[in-house]
């Protein structure tokens, strides 16, 4: 008779978050401390995940309430210290009045779609559940969920309707500023930064790397650049080197030795970025290692091309791309910029050399031949 009651008035009999005893529950209720890991699903496939704590009645499924007419849904994002992301959605009707969580079908979800990709790994559904505190709907991307590298566009998925783009709200990313605590507990290093796209929609920029070589302070000297960085997930051996690989494969790679920094070596060259490091956790638990490397500009001459910078932990290991991803800034290219230096090659031709970050936040160096500058020098 309980089932009959559900059939006539499913919402009244089964408030969210309450599971009547003796009835099968699809999933354990979520909580912030131990969020359930969402499944990666094929885009367009019927939504399988039963939102948490919904009572399922196999023979006579409780009819879902019809999806409300949602206009301009916004989402507030919050990054926690373990680099999990919480999405809190605010839904509005056509008169810009906020829609209550109880008006939203329980299958509602935040849908992340990897731009320019299709297939099972290109879509992720994060179920929306009401928060007791403010009655809003919330979805969680746990730090334990891997998000393949790229730009993930965020959508609101309501019942069978075509998902609609989510608009950015207030993004509290302060815990990302100093790199958060990229956990080495996993076998990978994941960074996810919510941002506003050119069209004003919400997307999440993701990196998934291991090992990872994080670029830190970079000084442009007269004839060289001096880079400090930190290697995550690999050890620096005595044969560790920086490799500059030319985009134009006709030139040969340039290799220079990398010097591991000793404890407390972060003297006057310190910069505000990068997590605070205590000596005891440097190598043992985190296996992260700070290094300094000096790349002479003359080694990149002559020529007119870009060089991509990699770090090879040892002669026997694959090189790791140098990048700057451990903070709250999704696009480094325009914010982390460096002066250029003019350097002459053996024949006296002048080149302009300038380190820069690519659109994917990888570190490269651009060498530009300055025509007609030679005589002036």
């Amino acid at each position: 008779m309980i089932l009959a009651l559900f059939d006539t008035s499913p919402r009244a009999a089964s408030p969210r978050g309450v599971a009547p005893r003796g009835v099968a529950v699809a999933d354990p209720p979520p909580d912030v401390a131990s969020p359930s890991v969402p499944e990666v699903s094929v885009p367009g496939a019927p939504a399988r995940e039963v939102p948490v704590s919904e009572v399922s009645v196999p023979e006579a499924p409780a009819p879902e309430i019809p999806a409300p007419d949602v206009h301009h849904p916004r989402v507030d994002c919050m990054a926690d210290s373990t680099v999990g992301l919480t999405f809190t959605v605010r839904l509005f009707d056509k008169d810009a009045r906020e829609i209550a969580a109880s008006q939203v079908p329980e299958s509602a979800a935040v849908l992340l779609r990897l731009r320019h990709h299709h297939g099972p790994d290109a879509s992720l559904r994060l179920p929306l559940t009401p928060v007791a505190a403010d009655g809003r709907l919330r979805a969680i991307l746990p730090s334990t969920t891997q998000l393949p590298e790229g730009r993930w566009d965020a959508y609101l998925s309501l019942a069978d309707e075509e998902p609609q783009r989510l608009l950015p709200g207030v993004h509290d990313l302060r815990s990302l500023v100093s790199g958060g605590s990229p956990s080495d507990a996993h076998a990978w290093l994941g960074v996810r930064i919510p941002y506003t796209t050119k069209n004003g929609n919400l997307a999440v920029r993701a990196w998934l790397r291991r090992p990872h070589a994080e670029a830190g302070t970079l000084r442009v000297e007269d004839g060289a650049m001096v880079l400090r960085g930190r290697l995550h997930g690999a050890r620096l051996s005595a044969t560790a080197c920086l490799e500059a690989l030319p985009r134009d494969t006709a030139a040969s790679p340039v290799r220079v030795a990398v010097r591991p920094d000793s404890e407390g070596d972060f003297g006057p060259e310190r910069a505000p970025e990068g997590p605070e490091r205590t000596p005891e956790d440097a190598d043992a638990r985190h296996s992260a290692r700070d290094f300094t490397v000096e790349l002479p500009f003359a080694s990149l001459l002559p020529g007119h091309q870009a060089w991509d910078l990699w770090l090879r932990p040892s002669a026997y290991e694959e090189p790791v791309r140098l990048a700057r991803i451990l903070d709250d800034i999704p696009d480094k290219k325009r914010i982390f910029t460096y002066p250029s230096r003019r350097v002459s090659d053996r024949d006296g031709a002048i080149h302009s050399v300038k380190p820069y970050y690519t659109i994917n936040n990888n570190l490269s160096v651009q060498v530009t031949t300055e025509n007609g500058q030679a005589e002036r020098e």
């Binding site: 207030v170 990313l173 500023v177 100093s178 310190r270 910069a271 914010i335 910029t337 460096y338």
Partner: protein, 417 residues
């Protein structure tokens, strides 16, 4: 009361738009409030008014719309009511003159509020008999040209009240313009409580935000931060905003070798999420008619190191209690102020907390209550007196005499600003 705000464009993202919406929304708790935008450039405003605030526009500048007014020949003829002395004269036209005039002569509002001098002139000259006429000054009298000052002296006597954003500017209005029968009152801009938890003072970043314009003196801030870095290389500076100084500032950062410590971040909206990533706010302007960013940062729990420039900062910050005031343009003093807070975490945290509670006085609800008081008393005063006629006559007489007497002085002031 029915309150109507007249604004250049409610579709922009500048300070006047923000503060007008904040005030309108707070007043809408008790009153019928509309915002009338002279121009409409976008389908949707950056800041969506809610709480029942009605938004309408007079001239449609959206090219893709059949209602587009930009090609109207009337819009090609110069404005006669909107004054040439106002910086936005060029955008206005005979069409805006007519549309604004039609709106003001038929409005049902009890109180009409103009939000910049040019629009205040419209309100003074074209509002039908009946409604209270209120003109807001979001800049300062001192920064207006001599021509503008003469115009205001002639026109403002037909207003019931002029509001300024600082007490210092209100004093200027009272002493230099002398507007008989016109209430001159300072009412600060309002800033709502942010949607993020306040900063806790633990992050090693100084944050600044605002247009990259010469008056903001970010060059001074960058030089001062160079001195900070020499002592505390573990701290950084983020500057939010865009503007024509960007390239110059970029060069300065590179020249001083500060590119690992000072970052030009571009614009951010909402800015509150960026304030809380830092622990100290820096404002090094040579001029702040109010100082909206100071209040915004304080509402996020940041102590502010600000130059003691005219007029806003000293009316917002209590020096040594909830922030620090330093001499304008003084690189060493600014660096000193920043280092004092950087090197003393206890002081930083205490001042941050003091800033958080002191800035509550700028909450829209509190500012709106003061506006409501002013508006109510003006509506009541109007109800029974003929003051308008008297004020206008007196104002006209004063204006003629004073303009002749002060013409030379105004010209000098104009040259100085």
């Amino acid at each position: 009361m029915h309150i109507s705000f007249l604004i250049f464009s409610a579709y922009g993202m500048g300070g006047t738009v923000r503060t007008t919406f904040n005030l309108a929304q707070a007043l809408a708790e008790q009153h019928e409030v509309e915002v009338v935008s002279v121009f409409r450039y976008r389908d949707r405003p950056f800041f969506e008014p809610d709480n029942g605030v009605r938004l309408s526009s007079l001239v449609d500048m959206r090219r893709h719309r059949p209602t587009f007014d930009g090609d109207d020949p009337e819009h090609a003829r110069p404005a006669r009511v909107f004054p040439a002395a106002d910086g936005q004269y060029k955008q206005h036209s005979a069409l805006t003159d007519r549309k604004i005039g039609e709106y003001l002569s038929s409005t049902e509002a009890d109180v009409v509020v103009g939000t910049r001098p040019g629009l205040n002139v419209h309100v003074a000259r074209q509002t039908r008999r009946g409604p209270v006429r209120l003109g807001q000054e979001h800049l300062t009298l001192a920064t207006h040209s001599a021509r503008m000052k003469r115009l205001l002296r002639r026109t403002y006597p037909r207003l019931d009240a002029v509001t300024t954003v600082t007490e210092a500017d209100a004093r200027d209005y009272r002493s230099t313009l002398r507007l008989p029968g016109v209430r001159v009152q300072s009412l600060p801009n309002s800033v709502p409580e942010p949607d993020v938890a306040p900063a806790d003072g633990s992050r090693k970043w100084v944050v600044a935000a605002g247009r990259l314009a010469p008056a903001k003196r970010y060059d001074v801030l960058i030089r001062a931060f160079g001195e900070v870095v020499r002592e505390r290389p573990d701290w950084g500076l983020r500057i939010y905003g865009h503007g024509r100084e960007a390239d110059k500032l970029r060069k300065l950062i590179d020249e001083l070798g500060l590119y690992n410590h000072v970052y030009l971040m571009g614009s951010a909206n909402p800015i509150e999420a960026e304030w809380v990533k830092g622990s100290i706010c820096a404002v090094t302007s040579s001029l702040e008619s109010f100082g909206m960013t100071i209040v915004e940062a304080m509402r996020c729990g940041l102590p502010v190191v600000a130059t003691d420039c005219p007029h806003g900062p000293k009316e917002i910050i209590r020096d040594g209690a909830d922030g620090l005031l330093v001499p304008t343009g003084d690189v060493r003093a600014i660096a000193g102020g920043l280092l004092r807070l950087i090197n003393d975490e206890g002081l930083r945290t205490r001042m941050g907390k003091a800033a958080l509670s002191a800035s509550a006085r700028f909450d829209p609800a509190q500012v709106a209550a003061r506006y409501e008081e002013l508006m109510t008393s003006l509506v009541n005063r109007r109800a029974g007196t003929l003051h308008r006629a008297r004020g206008t006559l007196l104002g006209g007489a004063y204006a003629a005499r004073e303009a002749a007497r002060l013409g030379v002085k105004y010209a000098l002031e104009g040259a100085r600003t």
